[in-house]
Symmetry: C2
Subunit: 598 residues, 2 copies
């Protein structure tokens, strides 16, 4: 491509809208342009990068036996009502854009395609002889993000590869899942990324097991906990660990103490000269279900620990049936309004005991009082502990379960693992923390969707059995930006050859110099003929501008037809380390072809 004919505008200034380097660089180098909040145009060079990523994905998916298709982006609400996710996706989490068509029917804009593909499998798969199947698509998807940001990292419209497998049984599902895990590793490696696979929470997608593929980078929105021995890595949302040992309590006698201004654990421990591990912390939540039922939830946990909201959400989702509901659609921390709703007198926040008296949970404003107590494993075995008294400015010390307080019936694991905890697989290993960008996520869904939507097959024994399903996603546009986040310097982007928009750029320092232009033109034609993708910077611009642009857009190899022509040479610069060498013109094509092949 001749740059004089290409739509390209580079910026010298960093756009104010961009916070992280990859976003800034993609904007400055003219790869993307913002059209609205979380909405970006992929300009011609970006489109080439995305196509290369897609092509690598396609090759690995095809090699793993998957078949490409394309499903609709507009999805009838009826399908999502069958799976029970319409409310969760459009109301609670609200991440699905929805609209009403001219026939007054509701449609969603697909953030994911479990419902659509399950409807197709229900119609198309009849017999065990057709299994397994694995269908994938590379498609624009939509999420009405609360806070779109970081360019393509968290956009409202983005490109994803999503695949869905249909298997006869859990063993077959595990095989496909393993094959997909391997395909993902191949894809990320071929794209030139440093990444790690981690255990992950399955979230609203559901299912039993899931794994995320994290590109490690400071700008990552996710926290990863891992051990040095390489045997454990998990998203903090999912991570498990051994808590530190609890200290013995300094209190042996139960009594109520005046503890003014001790609404936080730190101030309390300081005031009472006790360790946080001797405290039972009691945290209130408000759970909202899809049938309108609301539940006040009190979680008791050891004072040095925090509640992991994702784990708590999963637990409360699993309890939906207890309240006659299908799904949890909200989990809030009660505020002043909520207090009025639940309690007839102000809740003693910061001083709450492991149980609430009736006077706090009589329900105001017509809310039927539903109250649920949970206790985290870390708080179960504490003795002579410190905890709240349900009275502002007072705590109790030397308390015990079974004496002053009943142990809640439901013991759960809701604590958040943290860096410094001991690993569960080997208590000598200490969890380390890193930031990651989630570019892939694979799930063993099991029969969640097939059962809800009646997608069954006839087994070899003649029985109707629900299909076992897996789903496998890669964020194509996010992956492309994550690559930049891992590979840039102060001058601009450094694309890995495999996904660079062009492999070579030929810079003509002075287009009015006939020799410079002629050599460049000849090399341009020769490189094209050798199947190498080349940009020819034939713009009538100053040499300095062209060099800056070349560094900014990050093409792996730059050829300069400048002063060295006097010796029959051109200058060849490797973008990765800006190393430069002179080379006879006649060697250029073979040398670059060799470099690209290695």
């Amino acid at each position: 491509m001749r740059m004089s004919q290409m739509l390209l505008m580079t910026l010298r200034e960093t756009p104010a809208e961009a916070e992280i380097p990859s976003h800034q660089l993609l904007l400055r180098a003219g790869y993307i342009r913002r059209i609205g909040s979380g909405l970006y145009a992929y300009l011609p060079m970006m489109w080439r990068v995305l196509n290369k990523v897609s092509q690598i994905i396609r090759e690995e998916m095809d090699a793993a036996g998957a078949q490409e298709c394309l499903l609709p982006q507009l999805q009838p609400s009826e399908l999502w009502e069958e799976s029970g996710r319409w409310e969760t996706y459009t109301k609670a989490e609200g991440i699905m854009f929805s609209l009403i068509d001219r026939q007054e029917r509701r449609l969603g804009l697909g953030p994911t395609h479990e419902e659509v593909i399950t409807a197709i499998a229900r119609d198309s798969i009849r017999s065990y002889r057709q299994l397994p199947q694995n269908l994938y698509q590379i498609q624009t998807k939509f999420r009405d993000e609360i806070r779109p940001r970081f360019g393509l990292m968290r956009g409202r419209e983005f490109i994803m590869k999503d695949a869905y497998s249909f298997n006869a049984d859990p063993e077959s599902l595990k095989e496909t899942y393993a094959a997909m895990s391997q395909a993902y590793e191949n894809i990320l490696r071929r794209c030139g990324l440093h990444f790690t696979a981690v255990e992950a929470d399955s979230g609203a997608i559901g299912g039993s097991a899931s794994q995320e593929f994290m590109v490690l980078a400071e700008a990552g929105e996710d926290e990863v906990l891992y051990t040095e021995d390489g045997k454990y890595a998990a998203n903090v949302e999912k991570a498990v660990s051994l808590p530190t040992e609890a200290q013995p309590s300094p209190f042996s006698k139960y009594e109520k103490r005046e503890t003014p201004n001790t609404a936080t654990i730190a101030t309390l421990c300081d005031f009472l000269s006790c360790d946080a591990t001797t405290v039972v912390k009691n945290v209130l939540y408000e759970a909202v279900y899809d049938n309108g039922k609301q539940v006040l939830v009190l979680v008791s946990i050891r004072g040095d620990q925090d509640v992991n909201d994702v784990k708590l959400t999963n637990i409360l989702s699993g309890m939906a049936g207890n309240y006659g509901a299908q799904a949890l659609i909200g989990l809030n921390v009660p505020d002043a309004d909520a207090q009025q709703k639940w309690a007839t007198k102000p809740l003693p926040l910061g001083y709450i005991a492991p149980d609430l008296g009736d006077d706090y949970i009589q329900g105001g404003k017509g809310v039927e009082p539903k109250f649920l107590r949970l206790v985290d494993e870390t708080a179960v075995n504490l003795q002579n502990f410190v905890t709240g008294s349900n009275e502002n400015g007072y705590h109790v010390v030397g308390a015990n379960w079974g004496e002053q307080f009943t142990l809640p019936e439901t013991v759960v694991d809701v604590r958040e693992a943290q860096a410094g905890d001991r690993a569960t697989h080997d208590s000598q290993q200490i969890l380390q923390s890193a930031r990651g960008i989630e570019v892939g996520h694979i799930f063993q869904l099991g029969t969640k969707y097939s059962e809800a939507m009646g997608a069954t097959y006839t087994s070899e024994q003649g029985q109707e059995v629900p299909l076992y399903m897996g789903c496998y996603g890669i964020g194509v546009s996010r992956l492309a930006q994550a690559t930049v986040e891992q590979s840039y310097d102060k001058n601009g982007i450094i694309w890995p050859s495999a996904i660079a928009p062009y492999q070579v750029i030929i810079t003509v320092p002075n287009v009015t110099d006939q020799q410079q232009s002629q050599v460049a033109e000849t090399l341009y034609q020769d490189l094209l003929a050798a199947g190498i993708e080349v940009l020819l910077d034939d713009r009538d611009e100053r040499a300095g501008v062209k060099f800056k642009d070349a560094d900014l857009i990050g093409i792996p190899y730059r050829i300069v037809t400048g002063r060295s022509l006097a010796n029959g040479n051109v200058e060849v610069i490797k973008r990765a380390n800006l190393s430069s060498q002179e080379m006879p013109i006649s060697d250029v094509v073979t040398t670059i072809r060799d470099w690209l092949q290695n």
Copy 2:
């Protein structure tokens, strides 16, 4: 691909939902599946067809110097308000799906991308030295159709290639437009289609000139008028012609006649024994503008002619400024309700005169009376004509403009050309009619969008000049189905080789016969090695089922490893004419490669 591993389900019965052959066949052969009204999943074989069509388009667009990109599907309403199209697209025609996001901002789902691309050009194009530019994308688009039907022909979600050119002046625009016209002819020819390019109306897109590419087929929704000499072809919406000559009026004296039960032209002419060309027909419309203004429009036209709604819409759109509005958002034929709204007594429909008395247009129900008279060219020169009297059951005869009726000030061309009319370029040529499927449409937009949105460039003379724009669309998914509509027989689809999902299918009549399977497997590997796309029907099904499926899905060449193996031969069948020949196994690969190359 081994069919035993492919997701495929063919149907023996014609699905009730499908009206036209191509839709029936794509469903029956398992290419597509309906997910909702106007929403289809493209299953693996369909996706291969669509990719081939896209690839041909890509090659021809690239060869014509266009650059591929991808623009957002979600579009902020602000951009459409800048161009003045938000109301028209979401309210009047209502073809754009729109939604409200969680920030309460309005977004549209792109049916077209003039606004987005103009916003990008406004930011990226500064100088004449950057021109011309031509950007294209291949993308899923959306239309909230009133009546989605015919499968992929008129879906609510479909794949389009759209390109937008930016030129320095009208001459440069014409060059790009001509290059695109040529590219479109190349694309359609390479896809194996019979088509014709026709003059077309530009509709809501706007601009001065436009051309549609019509695939000729009975099921086409468009009517094309053309002449045998090949010099004229136009969509009936746009077509011009010479009307037949008017007959002399049999009436020489003006008088009112009782004409009971003559509300139609046919009954009137029969009753009065006069020719329809001697009658002035008066037709009422109700125009609605985007500022709420409503106008009662009376069109006088020669009795044998019909009003072309598209032409009338264009005329009334052009008059929006007269009513302080930006756009026409509706054109209705007044019904009983409308009569109450406009008139204080019932309108004498079927007997309306070329003017309405004040008593008919005083405005009811608070509508401010706006009344507009238009006369078509065909009615201007009539003398002693027959027309309505504004009294039920009565007409007048022997009337003349300037005597009993004032000629309306605005003379227009709103008549619909029809088969049998004489052509304007040569009155010896008579217009013929054919049905067409519109698969492409190219427009010279001029400065409509660039002026509205302030997209200018600095000319060589240093002046800020609005960019001249063109836009160029091809319906990718529609084209694929149109191909089937042109190429099928009673047994199924007959794909042209260039866009067939696979080029060859190897049918093993009996998979338990080891020789049959072995020969098939060897041929399968050899054909793959030769770069030929092959399906291997290794399913454990009866031979008859396999032969029926092969014909139905329409792969160009079928190889059968059956009885002829006894002579060292296989049977090779051409799908197009079902001709069959035996061939030595060793000749198969070279023969098929030769066939495919020709």
